[in-house]
Subunit: 202 residues, 2 copies
Amino acid sequence: MTTTGPARDTALHADADRPSRREQILQAAAQLFAERGSRAVGVDDVGAAVGVTGPAIYRHFAGKDAMLAEMLLRISERLLAGGSERVAAAGADPAAQLRALIAFQVEFALENPALITVHDRDLVSLADADAAQVRRLQRRYVEVWVAVLARLHPAADAAACRVRAHAIFGLINSTPHSAGQLDRAATAALLAGMAEAAARAW
Amino acid sequence: MTTTGPARDTALHADADRPSRREQILQAAAQLFAERGSRAVGVDDVGAAVGVTGPAIYRHFAGKDAMLAEMLLRISERLLAGGSERVAAAGADPAAQLRALIAFQVEFALENPALITVHDRDLVSLADADAAQVRRLQRRYVEVWVAVLARLHPAADAAACRVRAHAIFGLINSTPHSAGQLDRAATAALLAGMAEAAARAW
DNA sequence: CCGGAGAGTGAACGATGGTTAACCTGCAGC
DNA sequence: GCTGCAGGTTAACCATCGTTCACTCTCCGG
């Protein structure tokens, strides 16, 4: 197993638009973690996926856990930031806000099935402090949804809205399980329709 | 083929209503696997959870993988059998069949959150042959749903129904994420309502 | 009373895999 | 040209953990 040509080129004349080695590692790791689970993936595997040996990882990350922690933190941050942003941009109508949130989540899930998979499968593999941080971010994202759902269901209490939000996440985040069944646009439309129906039910 | 009858060996012990040691182990393992992930749980942990040492497990299972394999196979079998049964008992009306399937899945998910969690998180930790067997059962269960959904949406093709089925599973199987928010009955009603709305959307 | 099977124990073995150490290399900038 | 740092490499270290082994101990059937 020797290094192939292209990996060398990027190291030589650091192309600005080409992702850095660090980003390559994170992306490759996400893919592998999603396929086999983080604990079943060795540092050597991640290295091999980007054309280096295992210990080279330690030039870019403090360790395997740090890699996973950064991965999950980034996902949670992207979701929270993106969700908040879309709601703010959707005006004051809760129905429009809901549609914006759904569109965002569907888009994210279809664009990053590996991240979605790792996000909830490997949270338990995190050190306590990191897991707590990720959960804090997740909770805030959930509350963004809950705020919108609460305005759509004035009679429902927050707990019910939370259950509802998690259910919608589960619905939309099912994409890794149904990959390759339909083309992207059709899947997006179907999931968005289902999510909206589920959000409004009762 | 180590699948023996349910509680046959309880006859050996005086108190027959207590589950056999083998069943205790499976149940404790399911709980631990759900909490930390199967690869993070040691044989010693499972043993300790039922009051024995690690190696004692080997009196009841060929190994750790065999334990996980039996766990996942049982879940898949229970789902397939239960789903098929409920559909058959629901008569010819596809709407009634759908309600029966939803009620069954909701009931199962609320009754066995740990099994639901392990079922889709630790499938990747299985040996190839076992994983293939589990996936075969899962596929058959999905097809039970697809058959019902296809009759509700005559214009939709099988692929769309499959996406729909996975989305509904995701919705209902979100229970481990929203545990403790509402009481069981309220959660069941909410999820069933959302699932039905999602199933009928468009 | 006796012997065998089932169940459990503590100790040891071996593989796996994360991490570290020591060493190499090639461009950057005085 | 020297020097330094960024990034890689190989080899070794070490902890963890699944698994096996050689024993007990305790029922129970004959």
